[in-house]
Assembly symmetry: C2
Homo-oligomer: 342 residues x 2
């Protein structure tokens, strides 16, 4: 079970009997309501409560990635429940760790919230972080964090991972002849976002919570893929053990991110149009799926849940579909490319 359970989020929101703003409660009282909802995880030697935390790094190294999510550019509370927001913050960072071939071990989370924020929002975020970790990276936890004030709700998540002595899987290791494979959904997050913009905005174009709830009941999978994705985090280690030569987290769309591997490795990538499915345009262009794109040596039996979708070529920097070059330079996920794959 890796998909978020929306019932859980709603239950917990209802259970928050006493509501108050973070300004009314003050930092210590807010922390007292958030921290019991989080678990430090198996790697924590010392969790929250002192000036810093202390975390195991079993092989004497740690993988680290950091990411900011800001209300407006990155999410809207009219669309995302706090639970979904916490879940997505965990999921996107865990995928960056996985993309190195590492097993996620821990997060630290800093939240800046307007003083008028109801504490139930922060409780919901904490619940989403906890359940996202439990589903996507069992054993990993939140070892520390920070609470501060901002006019704009902001989450800063830093995630850690363990390579168990292996070399990290970089973007630069793909070689001509390698198989290109992908794990995760392709285009669903973009489909969900397009639906939210089309059907969950009011007359002025602003996100509308009631319309989003209605959309969620009609298209649960697509809305969930955008608001609370369940990326194949465990597949990162699977790819590394199978000998992946390059890998990255597909956050900006399959085409744009494939170009990053192509450029870092000095190779080309030719997609198999048939493998991309009936709507190849959105499969290639759709951002925020947070799948894993990896390359494997030619003789590798590509491991589950990866699916072969192309081949690494010697045509340095050239992206193509069934041999026909496509251009992703200066390209935007929702415009600028006509979408034809052949």
């Amino acid at each position: 079970m890796t998909a978020p359970d929306p019932e859980l989020g709603h239950e917990r929101a209802d259970a928050a009997a006493e509501t108050a703003t973070v300004a009314e409660l003050g930092e210590d009282a807010v922390l007292a309501r958030i921290l019991p909802r989080l678990r430090p995880g198996d790697a924590a030697i010392l969790g929250a409560g002192d000036d810093a935390a202390l975390v195991h790094a079993a092989d004497g190294r740690f993988v680290v990635t950091t990411d900011l999510m800001v209300h407006g550019p990155d999410f809207r509370l009219a669309w995302s429940t706090p639970f979904e927001l916490g879940w997505k913050a965990a999921a996107t960072n865990l995928t960056d760790v996985a993309a190195m071939g590492a097993r996620p071990t821990a997060l630290v989370v800093a939240i800046a919230a307007p003083p008028s924020t109801d504490v139930s929002v922060l409780e919901g975020i904490a619940d989403g972080l906890r359940e996202g970790l439990a589903a996507l990276a069992p054993g990993a936890g939140v070892v520390g964090g920070d609470l501060s004030a901002s006019p704009v709700l902001t989450l800063a998540v830093t995630a850690f991972g363990d390579l168990a002595g292996r070399s990290p899987v970089l973007r630069s290791g793909a070689r001509a002849g390698d198989v290109v494979a992908h794990a995760g959904v392709r285009g669903d997050a973009a489909r969900g976002l397009a639906l939210l913009f089309a059907e969950a905005t009011d007359a002025t174009g602003e996100p509308d919570a009631a319309l989003a709830d209605d959309l969620r009941s009609r298209h649960p999978e697509l809305v969930r893929a955008q608001l609370a994705p369940a990326p194949p985090v465990a597949a990162g280690v699977v790819a590394a053990l199978a000998g992946a030569t390059a890998m990255l987290d597909v956050s900006d769309g399959l085409a744009r991110d494939a170009r990053r591997i192509a450029e870092a490795s000095g190779v080309g990538i030719d997609f198999d149009g048939g493998a991309l499915g009936p709507d190849a345009r959105i499969a290639l262009a759709g951002a925020e799926d947070h799948g894993l794109l990896a390359t494997f040596p030619p003789d590798t039996s590509v491991p589950e849940p990866f699916m072969t979708i192309g081949l690494v070529t010697a045509a340095s920097g050239v992206l193509s579909v069934d041999g026909r070059p496509i251009d992703t330079l200066g390209w935007d996920p929702y415009s600028g490319w006509d979408g034809r794959t052949g």
Copy 2:
């Protein structure tokens, strides 16, 4: 030399010949101008450029702390130069690592900026981060980060440290009879902030850059203590090696933070009024000095740069000056306490 060199910051700002907003340049071009200004440091195995970084954790553990700085609540660009902002972001996080008795090894830095932000602001922040690290934690560097958009300039710094096999120095280890000692300035950051509010705000109370420049020329040390503090980061390891029983970073004022040690350790703390200097009120109340407050066993020769300022008592939770209890509960750094030490 640990104090920031204001000339350096100004030189570099002038040297940024080509200005452009981050929206005009785009993420890749902004990164291309920022990354060369940063150094990954000695602990970096893999720095910025892939999905995540890889960092040495020599003893199989790492200390981690995270902190958000938000324009408005935490800083104002009318007062702080970008260089000072980067410096302070480094300094405050390095001190939290030091307060565990650890040597800082690396930072990751996520910045969210309004699209209209001039790239020179981010360049200045990068210069301040680099020089702050070089001065306060030589060998430590910036191993990774994230750039995103926000209506409000926001910095999220996560800092790492190495304990070299030692136990972390917690807040909870102080014992009755221990010596209370402090390293760093006492009250200077609050004096600087009070001056900025009194003499560098316009008729409407808003921060004013020209008035701040004038104030800076008249009170360089106090303004610097607030805007670009130089805390005694290396003293954290010194305290640990000398056997410190408890330690923390003094961010909310000596009295308020001493209470944290008292409560965590189940002890009292009695300050020596004479050691606090002529203005004991501001020494005890002034926030943001980012000195280190530590306790040492009675027979310890308190190491430089620590200075003995009191004694741990058995009066659990009681804070006093020369034996007279003081109350810091519900107390604010700039009001709520009458300031008499006896």
